[in-house]
């Protein structure tokens, strides 16, 4: 499998650890389905840990944006954790870096949820 997802609970925050490649096909579909599932379960505080993401393409970015929109529209918050340089650069050139609340450290990310 190109992407591995692991979801855990830290207090009332759902942390989804994402590892591998978020690319068109299996990777982006898996992430989309996982985020939809979380929204359907009415999870309002979602932290995507992208620290082990090795590659993301425009489809993967699209799923991040879709996930953000879905969670926000349902009254929740979706934040990002642990962006490596490649992912950070991609979000910056696509003008999405400032859209997301991005954190480098999990504890502070958890505390930032209102």
């Amino acid at each position: 499998m190109s992407v591995k997802l692991n979801t855990r609970q830290v207090g009332d925050v759902s942390v989804m650890d994402v590892a591998g490649r978020i690319t068109l096909g299996e990777g982006s579909s898996a992430m989309r389905d996982a985020l939809r599932d979380m929204v359907a379960k009415n999870q309002k505080k979602i932290l995507l840990n992208l620290g082990d993401v090795t590659y993301i393409d425009s489809s993967g970015i699209g799923e991040l944006v879709s996930g953000f929109t879905s969670v926000t529209n349902s009254g929740g918050q979706l934040k990002l954790l642990g962006l490596n340089k490649r992912v950070k650069d991609l979000l910056q050139i696509t003008k999405l870096y400032t859209v997301f609340d991005v954190h480098e450290e999990e504890a502070s990310a958890i505390r930032s949820f209102s």
Binding site: G62, T94, L96
Partner: protein, 146 residues
């Protein structure tokens, strides 16, 4: 010895199926040739991504995963330049009418960033319609900064 090796011209050409596996294959071939050409890790990442985006466009939007349509892929390295050409058998598109993914009204769309990324990562990007049908994109990356 290594400089002579890097200066040797080399071309790889393939006719690929309209599948996502072909996207991986084209990226792998291109990055391999780009390494031989002497591109650094940062450029290898950019080149790989640009080729992936171009191949996805050809497979998904051009040929629409049609098993009867092929993607013509070629990558050449010569004299400090890497040139990738990708051609599909689709209906074609007008690049000038594509929405700007950076425009505020498009920022939250879940698609439409591919060509923007290709242009961001490569030194040159050209598109032309083919006769009798299809589109060909040409991506160029130089080892010497522009």
């Amino acid at each position: 010895m290594s400089n002579q090796f890097r200066r040797e011209a080399e071309t790889v050409e393939r006719f690929l199926d309209s599948t996502l596996e072909s996207v991986d294959h084209a990226e792998e071939i291109t990055v391999g040739l780009a390494k031989k050409a002497g591109f650094d890790e940062d450029d290898l990442t950019k080149i790989g991504m640009a080729v992936r985006e171009s191949m996805v466009n050809a497979v998904v939007h051009g040929n629409r995963y049609n098993a009867n349509k092929k993607v013509r892929f070629s990558v050449s390295k010569d004299a400090g330049e890497l040139v990738v050409r990708i051609a599909d058998e689709g209906e074609g598109f007008d690049i000038d009418t594509l929405p700007d993914p950076l425009a505020p009204e498009n920022l939250f769309r879940n698609s439409g960033r591919g060509i923007f990324l290709i242009r961001s990562f490569m030194d040159d990007f050209r598109v032309r319609r083919l006769d009798p049908g299809g589109m060909e994109v040409t991506l160029v990356k130089r080892t010497v900064s522009k």
